[in-house]
Each structure stands twice: as C-alpha cells, then as structure tokens.
C-alpha cells in the first residue's frame, strides 16, 4: 500500500542522517530505534500539546542523538528516530494512529499523547501491544483502578483529591497567620475543573472554611468579569479558581482590574506557564497555582536552560518538568534492560530513578510524592506544598495587593 511509502522514505532519510551524524560515534549501531507518537498538533488540544509535550520530546530526541544515541545495556548506543502523527484532537484518530504506528511502522516504543482523554483513548492499544505507557498529562480520580487494569501504565501525576489535600492543608496552616475563613470558588465546567472543585468543597469544609461563592463556567468562556465582580463584592479571604490557561489569564487580569485582593489568590493550569510571568510581571508575585518546582535544584536550573536553548522558550513549571522526567525514567530503564518492552515495564515498576524532579519511585505504578501548590516568588514559580516532598519554600502571605500600575 501507498500508506507505507513515506514512513519508509522517512526512515531512509532518517537513516542517512543518522549515519552521517553517527559517524564520529563508531559504537552507534545500524538501524535507528523507532519511537512513535500521536499527538494533537491541531484542534483544541494543540495548545497544551505544544507547550508541554512536543517540546520535551524534541528536546529529548536532540539530546539523545547528540550524545550518540540511546544507551543500551553494555554501553552500546543506537540513534533514535521519531514517527509522529497528528490526531487532530480526535480520540478516534489517536486510536488509529497508534494502530498504524504499531502494525505498519513497527515502532520499537511509543510515547503517550497529551491530555487525559487522549491517554485513555490509546491506553487499551498500548496495553494490547505491551508498550510501557508513561503518562504525564493525565489526571483523574480513578487512577488506582486504571493501573490495575493496565499494568503497563505509569502515572506521573497523582489524583485531583491529593492535589486538593495539599492545597487545603497549606491553607489550614495559614489560619494562625491571620487568614480568615471565607472562600470564593470558580471552576471550569469539565472533568478537570469538576473533579478538583468537588474535592475542594470537601477539603474546605474539613479545614473549617466557609464557601461564600461557588461559580462554574463552561470551557472557552470569554468574559469572566461577572465572576470577579461577584467576588469583589463578597471580599473573600481566599479566591480559588480551578481553571485552564486562557481562563487563568483572564481571571488574573480581571482580578487586577477589579481590585480583587484576597489574602490567597490561586488559579490552576497556566499559572506555572512562563507566559504568566511575561504577561503580569511584578503582578504575579504571590499568586498561587498548580505545580511548582524546587528552583534551588541545579538539575532543574540546567533543564530550564537547555529547554530555553534548544526549544527556544522556557518550559512551564508543572507538566513540562513532569513530561521530561518520564523520558528520563524511560531512558534509564532502557539503559538497564534494553528495548524489551516487558522488561522495561518490570524495571520501571521495581526501581527508583534520578530525574530533574528528584528521585522517582512508583507505588503500584503511581508516583505519589510530588509538588501540588506553587507560588510566584520574585520571578520564579516555587513549590510550596506538600512540604513532606522536600524542596519547598515558605509561602508569601498574605499575597501583596496588585500594584497599581
């Protein structure tokens, strides 16, 4: 079939390129390791995929091949080539792309797509083919059940309820420092926002806070001013928004304009984006959000610098770092056991890995210890909680009022 024409042509070109590049490294073996992925290059998911996932895949590919290839047991190296398809943000296309990668392109390994829905759509295919599935942009409450169903799946993000516990525990410690007890909630009306906000309602009640406002808005809402106006009227001590990048930016902007100055201002996805800092500058100081990294860690600093140099922009401080750590885990497992998929899965489940996020060790295929609350402090998005993970800083509290600019 003609379908196979170009992948093989690409393989030839890639092969030529690989041999030329590999010439100085005599140990590189003929035949590149083929890694396939399907990702949303177009459609509604493209934004997330292009910030978080794709740049890290490219960064890893370049670094691996520049080093002479993927390290195998015994010190051998093999060059890596990607076979990539666009799923146009449609589950059915993602499923078919994976079938094509596995059966037509005969890839050695697969990288996961971006987002919870896409990862779930391709999970049965990954499982059927016995491919390790290291998911980093995957966030649902029913995770323990999923890893039981698919033992080849490793989840790098814990559950929404854990994220919320970290947040409410942190807020509870601020009570003695003069945090009142009124909370205004805003959340985006989809799986992500709803799971977080329902966990938050329970956590807030447990911490003894009082919800004075609880608003939801559909994804893609343009005008969020009414939500902020209501919050301004109610003067809550805490404003918590479980939001996506466009709404995170819009809510922050409206809060600044409307003069909403709670003691804690929290927005979810997007707060950790470099874009947030660029857009709000000094206004970002004290804003809390999901994610956070240990900026004192030299590995993270080095990663940010490399990402900047090779991709041409900064990574975000939540899912980007997590995605890159999945690739570190995978390379380390391959270095130990080679390209045998079942052996890789076994190795990842059993061992611990040194990554830019520190040591990663899986508990029943789930990564448990991780930072959930971060805050902009002097131009860096630092981790605040949970403190038991280590590498956290003390929060800036109360959040300084928006500078009048």
């Amino acid at each position: 079939m003609t379908t196979r024409l170009t992948p093989s042509r690409r393989a030839v070109v890639g092969g030529i390129a690989a041999t030329t590049l590999a010439a100085p490294y005599v140990r590189a073996q003929a035949g590149a390791v083929k890694i396939g992925f399907s990702i949303s290059k177009t459609g509604p998911n493209a934004g997330g995929a292009n910030v978080t996932t794709l740049p890290n895949y490219q960064l890893w590919l370049k670094e691996t091949n520049d080093a002479g290839g993927l390290k195998l047991p015994g010190g051998q190296r093999r060059m890596v080539e990607f076979v990539e398809y666009d799923d146009r943000s449609q589950s059915e296309e993602a499923v078919r792309n994976i079938e094509r990668l596995v059966n037509q392109d005969k890839v050695d390994l697969l990288f996961p797509p971006w987002g919870t829905a896409m990862n779930l759509a391709v999970a049965p295919s990954f499982n059927r083919g016995g491919f390790p599935h290291l998911a980093s942009t995957f966030f649902v409450e029913r995770q323990p059940e999923l890893v039981q169903r698919w033992n080849n799946m490793f989840l790098f993000l814990d559950r929404p309820s854990t994220a919320i516990t970290a947040l409410t525990d942190l807020l509870a410690t601020l009570k003695d420092k003069g945090l009142g007890n009124t909370v205004a909630l805003a959340s985006v009306q989809d799986q992500f926002g709803l799971e977080l906000v329902s966990a938050a309602r329970a956590g807030i009640a447990k911490a003894g806070f009082q919800v004075v406002m609880d608003r939801q808005y559909p994804p893609g809402t343009q005008d969020l001013a009414p939500i902020i106006s209501e919050a301004v009227r109610l003067k809550p001590d805490m404003f918590l928004a479980f939001s996506y990048p466009p709404d995170t930016l819009a809510l922050t902007e409206q809060a600044r304009i409307g003069g909403l100055n709670p003691k804690v201002f929290y927005t979810a996805v997007g707060t950790a984006f470099p874009l947030y800092k660029q857009r709000f500058g000094a206004n970002a100081e004290g804003v809390m959000g999901i994610g956070g990294v240990d900026v004192t860690n030299p590995k993270i600093r080095d990663y940010i610098a490399r990402h900047n140099r090779i991709v041409g922009r900064e990574p975000d401080r939540w899912a980007s770092t997590t995605t890159y750590s999945t690739l570190e885990v995978l390379s380390q497992a391959i270095e130990r056991v080679g390209l045998d998929k079942a052996a890789i899965i076994k190795d990842i489940g059993a061992n611990s890995f040194e990554t830019i996020l520190g040591t990663i060790k899986f508990d029943k295929n789930q990564r448990v210890d991780q930072w959930w609350v971060g805050q902009w402090q002097q131009g860096e998005f630092v981790a605040l909680a949970p403190t038991k993970v280590g590498g956290t800083k003390a929060p800036v509290f109360p959040k300084p009022a928006w500078p009048t600019a």
Partner: protein, 321 residues
C-alpha cells in the same frame, strides 16, 4: 422491458447486500489490527452517511445533526454500559435516539432550507450543553469511563450488521409509499402537500429511522475510546465529515454514500500517514478538487459513464448496417 425486470431487481439488491456482508464478515480472521482499524472507520462512516442520506437524500433537507445523535448513543453506552447487560444497551440506545428524534423532528421539520441546516447544527451544541449541565449538576464530573470489553472485531461485526440493516431498511422505504412521498417532498413540498401527502408525518418518520441508526453507531463506537466527554461525543467534525462523504458519493442512490466514504476514508488515511503535518491543507485542496470536478458525486460519474456507453452502443449499429 423495465417492467419485466422489476421482480428480478426486487431481489437483487437485498441479495447483494446480504452476500456482501457475508463476504466481508470473515475479514477479521485475515486482516491485521491496523487494517481492522481502517475498516472500522470506513464502516462507521458508511453507516452514518447511508443513514444521513436516507433522510437528506430524497428530501433535500441538509442535516448537520449527525453528531447530536452519535453523541447521544455514545453517552447511552457510557451511562448504561456497566448497568445493563450489553445486548440490551444497543436497543436502549436505539430507543433513546428514536424518542429524541421524534421530539426534535416534530418541533423542527416545519423549518426548511438554511433554517433547518442551522437548527440541526445548533441541536448538536444544545444536546452537548445539556449533557454537560446535567453531568456537572448530578454527576460531579463531566468525563465518563467506558470500560466495556468489546474488541475491534466485535465493533467491526456490529457495524457491518448495521450497514446491511440500514441498506435493507433504506431499500424497503424507497420501495414503499413513504419513499414516493419523500421524493415528492424533495421535488416540491407544497405540491406534495396538495396532492394529499402528510408531509410532516413522512419527514418525521424517516428522520427518526435515520437518527436511530446514528445513535446506535455512537453506542457501538464508544467502548473503543475508553473515555468520553461532551467534546469527544458531540464533535461537530463528525457531522461535517458525514455530509461531505455522502455528497461525494451521491445522496440520490442508496449505495451512493458508500461510494463516497470508501475513497475519502482511504484518502484521509493516506494523507494522515504520509503528510501528518499538512493534513488539513491537503484536505481542503482535495475538497476543492472534488467540488469542482465531481459536482454530482461518484454516482453522477457512474450515470454519466453509463450514458456515454449507452450512447456509444446505441450509435454503433448504424455504421455496421
């Protein structure tokens, strides 16, 4: 001459359909899972496009509601899949599809032309927002897991069965009084009404049949994705793709849409596999070419070719004599 052939033709179509289905049924035994994935895609769009043309073909009412019913079916599977035995879920989906289509049909089929097109497009959005609202209000989350063990072969056989069924039902409708009524409505609705046809009942009846099939396709496909949310289930792309495929094939004949689905699905696959980064641009160009060179669809081309042959054959005897 034509009259004498009628009885033979009567049986020919159903026999071809059943024979074709019987021929395709053993395919999973030989086809690898990549080819199965492609076949599932072709079958899914074949059923949807044929069901679409069942209503839109004769009446010339262009409907963009495919995604609404498809999504309804997917959600039926998500809601009931783990509660009811699987063989009961499909009839349940069909029933829900039929009920919703009746309500929608009765309230909207008085619209026509561009108003109808816009309404049907809005319908998918309306159902999607209702589902989101209901899920958020009562479910606590919007996404739903569909953990139902139906493998690719199972989906293939169900879709194949549905395709045979929709063709047979379509054939029965075409041969019935209802079929004549629809064609009359397509020609001129006012005239049809004046000649005693109850246009509303006819339109709603066929709209319901068409929508029922779409709903069942949604229920069949949902387990393949493990997880659905409103934007996956009610994806407007499905409506547009079905429309384009049916029009390429030609909505005037029962088998027309399939002639559009097969080449387009294969074309999508080739573009996707070979030019993943410029898929949308190439797709746009392809559509331009189709509209420009194949305005009457594949069926139109076949008719044209047949005419030419007939004319050539008809002309021949003269110089021979």
């Amino acid at each position: 001459m034509i009259a004498r052939n009628w009885t033979l033709k009567d049986w020919a179509f159903p026999l071809v359909v059943l024979g074709g289905a019987a021929l395709l049924a053993p395919l999973p035994a030989v086809a690898g899972s990549y080819w199965m994935a492609l076949l599932v895609n072709i079958l899914m769009y074949s059923v949807l496009a044929t069901a679409w043309a069942l209503f839109s073909g004769p009446t010339h009412y262009v409907s963009l509601a495919t995604a609404a019913f498809f999504g309804l079916g997917a959600y039926t599977m998500a809601f009931l899949g783990e509660k009811l035995p699987l063989p009961l879920v499909y009839p349940a989906a069909a029933l829900i599809g039929a009920v919703v289509a009746t309500v929608v049909g009765l309230s909207t089929l008085r619209l026509s032309g561009v108003y109808f097109v816009i309404f049907t497009f809005g319908l998918a959005e309306l159902v999607r927002q209702l589902v989101t609202w209901g899920e958020a209000k009562f479910g606590g989350t919007v996404g739903r897991f569909v953990f139902i063990d139906v493998n690719q072969q199972g989906i293939f056989w169900m879709l194949l069965g549905l395709l045979a069924l929709v063709l047979l039902v379509g054939y029965a409708i075409q041969r019935s009084r209802l079929g004549w009524a629809l064609r009359a409505i397509g020609e001129d609705e006012t005239v049809a009404r004046h000649s005693g046809i109850d246009t509303t009942v006819s339109k709603v009846a066929v709209f319901v049949v068409s929508a029922t099939f779409m709903t069942v396709v949604g229920a069949v496909m949902a387990p393949r994705w493990t997880y659905i949310d409103p934007s996956i289930a009610f994806n407007p792309i499905i409506s547009f793709q079905v429309l384009i495929m049916a029009l390429l094939g030609g909505a005037a004949r029962l088998y027309g849409p399939i002639l559009g689905v097969v080449p387009l699905a294969i074309l999508f696959e080739i573009l996707q596999a070979n030019f993943p980064n410029s898929f949308s641009i190439l797709l746009g160009l392809t559509f331009l070419v189709i509209v420009y060179f194949v305005p009457n669809g594949v069926v139109g081309l076949i008719d044209q070719g047949r005419d030419k042959i007939a004319r050539a054959v008809g002309r021949r005897p003269h110089p021979a004599e």
